[in-house]
């Protein structure tokens, strides 16, 4: 049957032609979605790459935490200082951090240039009164610990101050008594504060007693932020006269 042979030949050609045109590609994701149900947030695209949801959340968290750390670092309020000059809260007892720039220790005898650092804590914040444009603070008392490069001027101090503030600046005056096991230093201090009490400079001549009798300690106390620098000289004589 030659006609049948021709028919079978055309049929076979038609079947092959159809099969060749059929789309046999398989989308594994589509198959998986159909198998487990459609999950719209199964993955997110980051920079053209799909990432699992968990990884995406962790990435966002990391970015937000970095932003948080940056924002705190940029403007945090913890650089406020606790100046001996500030109008303090009644019960506050802040301290200033020493700057660790001690010179080599002296031999602790004779005339010397001395340097070091101090910490302060408020004992009595005193009382303030407004008189015209001036705020008068009276009865301010602070305890100090002076760490110096000469043992004669290291010890515990008591600072008594009066402060008149004029806007962002103020004058300070009072007395300072520094005590250690061998003796003491005592005398007046005076100076000024600025930046709303954030920085100050006071100086004075302290007269020695005990083992320090006959000696004078000129002290320069300069504070800025949380650092208090101390420097001065010890010399065998009285303070300068008026």
């Amino acid at each position: 049957m030659p006609e049948l042979d021709q028919f079978e030949g055309r049929l076979a050609a038609a079947v092959h032609a159809f099969a060749d045109r059929a789309d046999t590609r398989v989308d594994p994701l589509a198959v998986a979605e159909r198998a487990i149900g459609r999950r719209r947030f199964a993955s997110l695209v980051w920079l053209g790459r799909p990432l699992p949801v968990t990884a995406s959340i962790l990435l966002v968290l990391g970015l937000l935490l970095a932003l948080l750390a940056w924002s705190v670092g940029v403007g945090a309020p913890w650089d406020h200082r606790t100046s001996i000059v500030l109008l303090p809260a009644p019960t506050a007892a802040p301290t200033t951090g020493p700057s660790a720039t001690l010179m080599p220790t002296t031999d602790g005898a004779g005339a010397e240039h001395v340097t070091g650092s101090g910490t302060f804590s408020i004992v009595d914040s005193g009382t303030s009164t407004q008189v015209g444009d001036t705020t008068q603070l009276r009865g301010f008392v602070a305890q100090s610990t002076d760490t110096m490069n000469d043992p004669r001027v290291s010890g515990t101090g008591t600072l008594r101050l009066s402060i008149d503030t004029h806007d962002q600046v103020g004058t300070e005056w009072g007395t300072y008594r520094l005590v250690n096991a061998d003796g003491a230093w005592e005398g007046p201090l005076a100076g000024a504060a600025w930046s709303g009490g954030d920085a100050s400079a006071v100086t004075g001549y302290l007269v020695g007693s005990g083992a320090n009798a006959g000696w004078t300690y000129y002290i320069d106390v300069r504070s800025s932020g949380f650092a208090t620098e101390l420097k001065g000289i010890i010399f065998p004589g009285p303070p300068p006269g008026p």
């Binding site: 947030f41 937000l64 705190v72 945090a76 004029h166 600046v169 005056w173 009072g174 005076a190 065998p236």
Partner: protein, 197 residues
């Protein structure tokens, strides 16, 4: 449910960041104004330096009312004092100096005239004296005390100067310090008198 949890978590983090930013933003560190003009006292026991100051590009104040002021001090000896040795002390008296420093407040313009006395103990000295700074509008005059070390290279002195002329009623407190010239100067101008301990 899961998408709600994620949304809440994201909101919490955003609020946390906003709070942190707000907390930081409350800081208001006071601005330090700085120099352009005027002098102040600062001695050096026996050294006679002649260096002139270098101008520091720091904002000037408005030259009015209470102010924090800063600048530099460079002194030059114009007349040697007399030296007398008394025991271990060398007593320097009546040395005269000129201060060519610059400050950042126009009220402190002018050349400072300084007298220096010192009791010198080896490389350190106790110092005291007077200073007067004058310009076209007025003058500042008063006493100062302090110390020097490193044979007069380093210093720390401070004083209270009373204003006159346009500065009448004001006081200028200065603190000059540093390991070498030009010394740093900081201080305040305020309406009122120096404290009387």
């Amino acid at each position: 449910m899961r998408s709600h949890a994620r949304l809440i978590l994201a909101l919490a983090i955003v609020i946390l960041v906003a709070v942190a930013c707000g907390t930081g933003a409350t800081t208001s560190p006071s601005q330090i104004e700085t120099p352009t003009q005027a002098p102040t006292a600062t001695p050096a026991p026996t050294v006679a330096p002649t260096a002139r100051p270098t101008a520091t590009p720091i904002p000037t104040t408005d030259g009015q009312g209470p102010e924090y002021v800063v600048g530099t001090s460079s002194v030059s000896v114009t007349k040697d004092g007399t030296e007398t040795i008394v025991g271990d002390v060398t007593q320097l008296r009546g040395q005269e100096m000129t201060d060519f420093g610059t400050m950042n407040d126009a009220r402190l313009k002018g050349t400072g005239l300084i007298t220096l006395n010192a009791d010198i103990y080896g490389s350190i000295a106790s110092e005291w004296g007077t200073t007067r700074t004058e310009n076209a509008a007025g003058a500042w005059e008063g006493t100062w005390t302090g110390a020097s070390w490193n044979n007069g290279e380093a210093t720390s002195v401070s004083g209270w100067l009373i204003g006159s002329g346009a500065y009448a009623g004001y006081t200028y407190y200065f603190h000059a310090y540093g390991p070498s010239m030009p010394f740093q100067v900081e201080g305040i101008i305020f309406k009122g008198s120096p404290p009387t301990p």
